[in-house]
């Protein structure tokens, strides 16, 4: 009888200790399940989700002798910054989120950052490239995307090599992200000798680009750079094709990276997108899965190839996971210190955060690439890496037609 009692006691101790060791880690974020940012935001969310599923299946995040099962708490922000403000407060106070991921887009992230900083919570940002937010003296904000100023630099360098006499037009969404990309790009274009023939911002949610397209034609621009997000970028590309604008090169932000771009057919052909990641570029991962494994698992789960928003979402989780492991737990100060010290290559490329007070958390390790939609041998639209030359999977098609 005594032996039975001891056995029962041991089992109880084992069960209690395993429950204690197996803890819950709550990560909160909002998703634009509705509204103009829906397409890109959903892709980012899938990246978070796949990371959670794979990590939990492998036993969770192991740190300080404990194992943390990840629980994602998320709400629909309706692509609306007012909702973001309410929901990030709710996730911190009511849902007791340990860490936060950002919403999709620079403007929504800037709003969320005010809340997370106020409560001293770490937020890793993905899908938020505007650099200004990181120059405001934030302490717990960490950016996964290369900053906005990098987006068009490669495209202009590539154009300089191909057609130094091109006339450039900038047509872009009047939103914080696109403005943060275009302003430095305009200066850079002039600096390397291009004639900027036309530049105009259009209001977010614009659906009729006829007037702007007429101005582009009048300016005799041969190259167009601009866009903003999926809804406006895809509409702009459709209407450029509809009006048969004789452009030799079109580079648009964000939208052409989505697998949905193939639905545009001929309007999508030849369009270039500055990308944070493409499956063709293989980095030797020091931590986490390889690019090929990530792309395979993603495609198997969602029946569509990953975009760079999806890769950014997954990498966000991966970098937080490594920081928690290095910190030996979830203490904010220790995890923050581990993130400050991060300098690592994953399938997504290199990640390193600035630690200077005037730009704390800004991404300074990650480099961008350029991808162009081209037809493969069967006539199907596929995305090919065309820049930098060392990483190219196909030659640039210039001019488009």
């Amino acid at each position: 009888m005594k032996r039975v009692k001891i056995a029962v006691l041991l089992i109880c101790v084992f069960l209690v200790s395993s429950v204690v060791a197996q803890q819950k880690l709550v990560i909160g974020f909002t998703v634009s399940k509705t509204g103009a940012l829906n397409v890109d935001s959903l892709e980012q969310y899938r990246g978070f989700e796949l990371w959670r599923d794979q990590t939990n299946a492998a036993g969770g995040i192991k740190a300080g002798g404990k194992s943390y099962q990840i629980e994602l708490v998320n709400y629909d922000d309706e692509s609306n910054s007012k909702r973001v403000q309410q929901l990030y407060t709710r996730m911190i106070l009511q849902d007791k989120a340990d860490f936060l991921f950002s919403p999709y887009s620079s403007s929504l992230t800037a709003t969320a950052a005010v809340v997370t900083e106020q409560y001293g919570k770490i937020m890793l940002t993905s899908g938020a490239a505007e650099g200004k937010t990181y120059t405001l003296g934030n302490h717990f904000l960490y950016q996964m995307f290369a900053p906005g100023a990098e987006y068009f630099k490669g495209a202009l360098d590539m154009l300089k090599a191909k057609d130094p006499k091109a006339t450039v037009a900038f047509v872009y969404e009047d939103a914080s992200f696109s403005v943060s990309v275009v302003n430095p790009a305009k200066d850079y274009a002039k600096q390397i000798g291009f004639n900027v023939g036309f530049s105009e911002a259009y209001p977010p949610n614009t659906t009729d680009f006829s007037a702007i397209i007429d101005k582009v034609i009048s300016s005799k621009a041969t190259v167009l750079l601009g866009g903003g997000h999926y809804a406006d970028g895809s509409t702009l590309a459709r209407q450029l094709e509809g009006h048969k604008v004789p452009l030799k090169m079109i580079t648009l932000l964000v939208a052409p990276d989505s697998p949905q771009w193939v639905e545009l057919g001929d309007a999508g052909l030849g369009v270039i997108v500055p990308s944070q990641w493409e499956p063709q570029v293989a980095f030797k991962a020091q931590y986490g899965p390889s690019g090929a494994d990530f792309a395979k698992a993603y495609t198997a789960k969602y029946n569509t190839p990953p975009s760079y928003e999806s890769a950014g979402g997954y990498a966000c989780g991966l970098i937080l996971q490594r920081a928690i492991e290095q910190a030996g737990g979830t203490d904010t100060a220790k995890v923050s210190a581990a993130l400050n010290a991060t300098d690592i290559v994953t399938f997504y490329g290199r990640t390193r955060f600035a630690t200077e007070a005037n730009q704390h958390g800004l991404q300074v390790g990650h480099a961008m690439i350029l991808a162009q939609w081209q037809k493969d041998k069967t006539g199907k639209l596929v995305k090919q890496v065309v820049w930098p030359l060392a990483a190219k999977s196909a030659d640039l098609k210039y001019p488009i037609h």
Partner: protein, 279 residues
């Protein structure tokens, strides 16, 4: 300018529905934007299901609009006619919120497209898309048919009679209730029709009707109340204005100019620029 003219015809068609209801029953129909959005989704659903020519699909959409309009009339308008205008504003606004709510639940607020392209016409460096030309022609045809209906048919004359003097029309044996229901139905059908045409030009969400509702107010005020063909002309004028000013200013300034014009017309021509001549 030409693009502005083509889109202006669609603005005009959208405003004709608002103008007709306003003129006939003195009701400012705040379901107008939601009905335009329903027209967009109607076209999307029919086109996705049948892949038929969108301009043929306009016919069932107009018919559905007529029936829906009569239903909305009985549901939300009939009971508040003759009472304070605030009542009809609140009542139609409630229907607007219901439509937007149901639409958001069904289709979210994500953008949709009707993937249909007609070959355009190229003049020098500029190409005018076939969709714009076809939408403008369809708007003109519908507007002319409406004018013929109002002036050449018994029901059309009855609608105009009720608009002029409801009591006198009833004394002549016209059932004003039936006439008002049909007039409201026609107004909603025009809203759905214009939405369906817009969907062949631009992407849309369930909230997209709001901007066309605002433009319809500008156009209706420009034209003067209750003048459907004037509304079409004013719509074309508004489109031309957009086309004429955009080469010189950033497109972000267009709403300011449009609503500036709205205020100026209200002050200088309170009966509308076409209303003045016929007053």
């Amino acid at each position: 300018m030409i693009d502005g003219l083509l889109v202006g015809a669609v603005y005009g068609l959208a405003a004709m529905g608002l103008s007709l209801i306003w003129g006939v029953m003195d009701v400012i129909n705040l379901t107008h934007g939601a009905m335009i959005a329903l027209g967009m989704f109607g076209m999307y659903l029919f086109f996705t299901a049948t892949a038929a020519n969108p301009y043929v699909l306009l016919l069932p959409i107009l018919a559905i609009g007529l029936l829906l309009g009569i239903l909305v009339y009985w549901m939300a308008v009939h009971w508040v006619l003759g009472r304070s205008q605030l009542m009809s504003l609140l009542s139609t606004f409630s229907v607007n919120m219901m439509v937007i709510g149901i639409g958001t639940a069904l289709w979210s607020t994500s953008p949709y497209n009707v993937n249909f392209t007609l070959k355009g016409i190229t003049v020098g460096a500029y190409t005018f898309t076939g969709n714009h030309i076809a939408a403008a022609c369809s708007a003109l045809i519908i507007a002319l048919l409406l004018e013929l209906f109002l002036y050449r048919t018994r029901m059309g004359r009855a609608i105009r009679a009720v608009a002029d003097n409801r009591e006198a029309a009833e004394l002549m044996g016209i059932s004003s209730t039936a006439v008002l229901a049909i007039a409201f139905g026609i107004g909603i059908a025009l809203a759905l029709g214009s939405g369906a045409l817009v969907s062949t030009l631009f992407p849309f969400t369930i909230l997209s009707g709001a901007i066309y509702q605002l433009k319809s107010f500008v156009v209706t005020v420009l034209a003067g109340l209750g003048k459907p063909l004037g509304a079409l002309a004013a719509g074309v004028l508004l489109g031309l204005l957009e086309g004429a000013v955009t080469p010189f200013i950033a497109v972000s300034w267009i709403p300011l100019i449009e609503f500036g014009l709205f205020v100026v017309v209200l002050i200088l021509f309170p009966r509308g620029i076409f209303g003045r001549a016929t007053a």
